[in-house]
């Protein structure tokens, strides 16, 4: 058993999700991601079960672990009581902690996840804010959604769900300072802040510094596509 496998085994999600896989492929047959991507949870379970560090390293450096949509449709169907979706969660954490996530295109999207879901939690106490499903990034929500975004406060008032209320119950309210302090203390004590820091650090190491990470973020904000950022020294000829 290698070091990576040993590290993986420490994750709660791993010990609950990985028992003994018999390679039947039921998970892959019903997997939403397998239909869309070159992805097979059966293959993932097989690699992990081999306990081969070289194979695990290759897996957590690749796009594959990021294809899963976390619907967990696999969990109730596995005849051996495994939970491939939970194993994916453990693999993704290992990929972030070791920095291998930054080696793949889909892995590098973790910077967006961190600066959206993670930072939103630390700053506002919600993973998503009313401004997040912006029309520019969700054109399929249509013109009425654009109208709503222009009239957000009034529309929410009109619907009876006013926003940004202070020291009050309510939709997308301002969570009191004391409660935010408690939340941040929890995130610090439970390793969540460390995990987020690892994402920033891993990206800086891969891209060549914090300025480059900010440039990557800016390119995404401007174009909604991380592929428009070119890693220095890796430009295609």
């Amino acid at each position: 058993m290698g070091e990576l496998y040993a590290e993986l085994s420490k994750e709660i999600e791993f010990s609950h999700g990985m028992h003994a896989c018999m390679d039947c492929g039921t998970c892959t047959a019903l997997c939403a991601a397998s239909e869309f991507y070159d992805y097979s949870p059966r293959e993932v379970m097989d690699i992990v079960q081999s306990q081969d560090d070289d194979k695990i390293r290759e897996l957590i450096s690749s796009n594959k672990i990021w294809y899963c949509g976390q619907c967990l449709s696999c969990k109730p169907r596995c005849p051996r009581g495994n939970n491939p979706g939970a194993v994916i969660l453990a693999l993704r954490r290992l990929s972030i902690k070791t920095g291998y996530f930054a080696e793949s295109e889909k892995g590098r999207q973790q910077l967006l996840a961190k600066r959206k879901f993670g930072d939103n939690m630390l700053n506002r106490g919600y993973t998503l804010l009313p401004t997040d499903p912006a029309p520019v990034r969700f054109p399929e929500l249509g013109e009425d959604w654009e109208y709503y975004h222009k009239h957000m406060k009034e529309m929410r008032q009109w619907w009876g769900v006013p926003m940004d209320l202070e020291n009050s119950p309510g939709s997308a309210r301002i969570i009191p300072k004391k409660d935010m302090q408690e939340l941040r203390a929890i995130y610090k004590a439970t390793g969540a802040v460390d995990l987020m820091d690892k994402i920033e650090e891993g990206m800086a190491k891969k891209l060549g510094g914090k300025e480059e990470v900010d440039e990557f973020w800016k390119v995404w904000q401007d174009t909604s596509d991380t592929k428009n950022y070119k890693i220095k020294g890796c430009e295609k000829k």
Partner: protein, 351 residues
Amino acid sequence: MKGEGKARVWERHQKAVPTADDPGGKEWGFVRSCFLQAASPYTEGIGCKVMENDLGMDLHEAAGHTSCGAIAFHGDTTTLQANMVVAARNFSIAHYDLGIDNFFAYCVTSFGNYTEIIELWEHEPELREYTERTLEETTGRKFWMPKVSGGRPSVVHASDVIYANIKKIAKKAKYSLDGIKATDHLGCHYAKIFPDESIGGGEFPQLLAGMIEAYGGEIVDYPERRHCCGMGFRQCAFPENRGYTAACVYKKMKSLKKTDPDCKLIITNCPGCGVFLDAEQGTIAQVMGEKFDVHIVDYAQLAGLMLGYDPFKDCGFNVKVVPIEPLLDKIGIEYDKSKTPEERRRPFGPE
């Protein structure tokens, strides 16, 4: 035989959710959904209106409740340990600060997250000890275990609360689904992670089908009924991945249309499904040139419509991609026809 089999399965998978007429069943605490607050805030609005005005419930919400963080967890920027302590904090606030014992989540992701955490606490006492200790050290708060369903450790989803009271709501309803074909789409994190926590189980969930039946609708089954909507957390969140979402919606829509082209109504209970099953029909129309025009209606919006609430001001059908009017006309629901569709949707002028 088919009906008997269904009845047997449904009998085996029931939850004891207090109704508004049970002792103490009027007092509830709740937590909101990040996704609903951001992408369809009116859903929580109409849900609260139905529970308060029509079921006479007293709903309590703390200013200091936070998100459960599960979107950040499935989006891989936080840890299970963080989720456990945040859950314990939200439970503690509900019980010790608000003084309530019944607790529901508006979000299916939160419901799945809380259910998983409660199961972990039950199976691994050291994780519960870790949570109690960390909660105390970081916030000074005391641990409290919710036991909402049948006195065992559990929380429930808002749709469970509506379902528990569905007979009362259907009796009060101004409209019915008589002659309307409809199907259900359960959130994966409601029915699949812990099928025993889903009313009716994971294979043939009763929750939304039961609501359709209670309102007099005709249920349509189709092959991809249980396929995920494709929300997928990081898949829907970043435009470069959203082909995944659209592909899942396309698969479902094609399957439904092939099975029964007259079924134009899907009832949902999960925030992501409610948004993307609707919105991606627009993408599919643009990319594939195929239109499905299937109305995606959340269970709370459906209760609102049936009870006679305004489809736009109360139920929020202003911002759906598939126009709601054909469904309103089919059911016979009244709305202001002197206004143009745009005027109905834009109460603050055209721009």
